[in-house]
Amino acid sequence: MAIKLSISGIRGKFHELSPSRVVEFAQAYSNYIGGGDILISSDSRPSGKFIREALIAGLTAAGSNVIDYGNLPTPILQWLIKNASCSGGVSITAGHNTFDWNCLIFLNAEGSYINHIEGEEFFNVYHSGRFITRKYDRIGTYSQQESPPESYFNALSINEKSDKFPKFVVDCSNGFTEDIIEKLSLALHVKMIPIFSSKTNIMEKDPEPTILNAQLLGTIVRETGSDGGFLLNSDASRVLVVDEYGQPHSEELTLPIFASIILEKEKSHIVTNYSTSNTIDQVAKKFNSRVFRTDVGQPQVVQSVQDLKTTIGGEGSGSIIYSPFSSGFDSFYFIRTIIQYLHQNKVSLSYIASQFVPPRIYKETLFLPQTKIYKILERIGNLYTPTVRLKDGFYIRNGEDWLCIRASATVSMIRIVGEGESISDEIARIKELVI
């Protein structure tokens, strides 16, 4: 069994998430939340087809009513759940993982990822292996909803317009289709050119928003004379900005850009994880607010945003949450904020990006067998005195330089992220130890 089970989702390659396993998780989830209405949607991954059917079978057998939003990115599903009276939701998407992966993301009644306490309770039900299915006249119903839903885009829409009609290229990373981008462009009064948005003719690509993966988008922005571009991962929870010259800006700048725009108008502290660049601390300092850091992952960051009642949260991997609007990371809200700012201030994306010094951040991954990961983490841990012990690794800080070493929640590997002059030497030291 090579599936990964965490509150970030039940994740596996297309042949590992078998229909019976999906049915079991669905029944366990329905039992755990006690039935009611459950909203579901998926990205465009082919394996979503069998997962969706098994999910519906399991949820309805256990007595939950399934409301199916078809092919819809997670942030929109989360928003719908937050604004409906329902019990929860399930998004079928593997976000930034390559196309051969898929994942079931379980959402609570607020539309947020289940937190670690909910996760523990849910997995206890699952591991008990005993699921309650309902009698013939108590099984759940199934209905399909209009998708994409107008309500989300109405809520997202802005009044501001520009004299000239700005044009942007949006890379959907095969996660969702052009009808979403069409609705988004109408709501924001801009022209948008979607790429990697076909449902039928899928050209595989790495959906993780990184400068490397943004090269093609950059070229298209340049060639089409656009005002910029946005590279999203396949569930639209992460985003990276490309300026009007086609120049991609690190995903580490997504949160700082967003926070500085919001903080110009309102006061809030900021929640991010230990694996995020110091750039956000500079933004906080400028606006006289504080940065709170958490373990890595959407569930942890969003939970802290809710606990600390901050408006802004996000991660260095390119995600943001604006809590008055969303209950999870939402790239569309990021795009809305940027475009509204451009309409209002008549500036360019390159100008906005120039306000930030590109972070000197290093990201390394060490792919390892699942059975070795924690042993190796321990060995690495012996090299240092951690500043903070994370639930899945270590955070070491030395002046401005920092290093975050942790086991990935989604794939069998160790992620090393660090920032500062001394970090490349440290990474080399760790790699030597592992090899």
Partner: protein
């Protein structure tokens, strides 16, 4: 402790109670076993009217898609229509989600091969082996098929039936028909079908919902209300079906429910009268009334073990032109090798039109015999022992499936049930004799079994 008897995994698929013994896990894995057996291609999927069918269908779809087989959704459809659709559209198989004559708490799935036939026993055993071993096909590529949909699969079936009857002759009669589909698939298709034959159609028990309006098995006992309705109104004939439309029961204009045995005989009456003599196949528990009809038109009767697929297997082997079972299952290969209530209805109307007689008059031409169906609680091995002793006592009996003994005025068939720990006895004879014969047989068996 109470025995669990409400789940059956056997050669005819799986059947159980929703929320107790039948859950989607079994369905996805059984579907994967079936998919492993057929390898690749397209598989038609249908349900009867049970609302739980939608949940089961999702599990079936998931199992098929994961096995890289394209599901073809034919929605709510009679079992015979699905079988015919698979064959005519050259699909690779079919899956029917139904618990047939069982009440609404039940559901199940049955598998159909590329010829539109239920799996033959050895193939079915192979399927069960794969299921228990869990050695299923794993997807090789990250490329899964979409679900195809077909909304008019019944038309393929209807077209085949219309070819074997004289439509104009029936239409001219403008029969007034009462139909009782019992809330099953007939609720959706009967009216259109019979109106095409020029009938004035009245429906009863045709509400589709969580509960069946009556017990879905179309037996005399379950049709009392329908029978009463026939008596009060003026109909030429009444028809009742089970939930998936394979079994039929006729009611005559006086409201008398024929039961499956007489229904089979009457349905074959007109059909055999117009065919060149040959062979027909019935199972060993079927009434002599059908043999009487066969004799009358010069047909030889071959007897098969009990079970639809056994009848079909013998029909193919013997090149029979008709066949059936005494539960109201009429099989006409010109349409398809399956039990089919729609073919049954068409043949009966055709027969009435051809002879220009009331349905009661046609039935009156057949002998009146009394049939007794009873069970004695007995383990499988106990039943086996009793049957061996009986076989010694009746060396000329038919031993194909238990023991069938034919005497001039009566016959009886004793066999061990496939589904319950009982010995089944079916017997038939003259009204005044048969009760005593069976009472004697019963007490003899009970004494031996002690």
């Amino acid at each position: 402790m109470k025995r669990i008897q409400n789940i059956k995994i056997g050669i005819s698929g799986i059947r159980g109670i929703i929320g107790e013994t039948l859950a989607p896990e079994q369905v996805v894995n059984l579907t994967r076993a079936f998919s492993t057996l057929i390898g690749s291609g397209r598989v038609a999927v249908a349900t009867d009217t049970r609302p739980t069918g939608q949940m089961i269908k999702r599990a079936v779809f998931s199992g098929l898609i994961f096995s890289e087989i394209t599901p073809v959704d034919t929605f709510i459809l009679p079992t015979p229509s699905l079988e015919i659709f698979v064959k005519e559209r050259k699909l690779n198989g079919g899956i029917i989600i139904t618990a047939s004559h069982n009440p609404e708490q039940w559901n199940g799935i049955k598998f159909v091969d590329e010829n539109g036939l239920f799996l033959f026993p050895f193939t079915a055993l192979n399927l069960i082996d794969i299921y228990y071993q869990g050695s299923f096909k794993i997807p090789s590529e990250n490329r899964f098929p979409d679900i195809e949909t077909v909304h008019d699969a019944f038309r393929v079936h209807k077209k085949k039936i219309m070819k074997i009857i004289d439509i104009d002759r029936i239409r001219k009669k403008r029969f007034k028909v009462l139909v009782d589909p019992g809330g099953g698939v007939g609720s959706i298709y009967d009216k259109e079908f019979l109106e095409e034959l020029g009938c004035e159609v009245h429906m009863i028990n045709d509400e589709v919902g969580n509960k069946f309006p009556r017990n879905p098995e179309p037996t005399e006992a379950n049709l009392e209300v329908t029978s009463q309705y026939m008596k009060e109104k003026n109909f030429d004939i009444g028809f009742a079906q089970d939930s998936d439309g394979d079994r039929l029961c006729i009611l005559d204009e006086t409201g008398r429910a024929f039961g499956g045995e007489l229904t089979l005989a009457v349905a074959l009456f007109g059909y055999l009268s117009r065919k060149k003599p040959g062979k027909i196949v019935v199972n060993l528990s079927t009434s002599r009334i059908t043999e009487h009809v066969a004799d009358r038109f010069g047909f030889k009767v071959i007897k098969s073990p009990v079970g639809e697929i056994n009848v079909v297997e013998y029909m193919q082997k013997e090149n029979a032109i008709a066949g059936g079972e005494g539960n109201g299952g009429i099989i006409i290969p010109e349409v398809h090798y399956c039990r089919d209530s729609f073919t049954g209805m068409a043949l009966v109307l055709d027969c009435m039109a051809f002879y220009d007689k009331r349905i009661s008059e046609i039935a009156a031409e057949l002998p009146t015999l009394k049939m007794i169906k009873t069970v004695i609680p007995l383990s499988k091995s106990g039943a086996h022992k009793i049957i061996s002793i009986l076989k010694d006592k009746h060396p000329n009996g038919n031993t194909l499936d238990g023991l069938r003994v034919d005497e001039e005025n009566y016959w009886f068939h004793v066999r061990s049930s496939n589904t319950e720990p009982v010995l089944r006895i079916v017997a038939e004879g003259k009204e005044d004799q048969i009760d005593k014969i069976i009472a004697d047989l019963r007490s003899w068996i009970e004494k031996k079994a002690d």
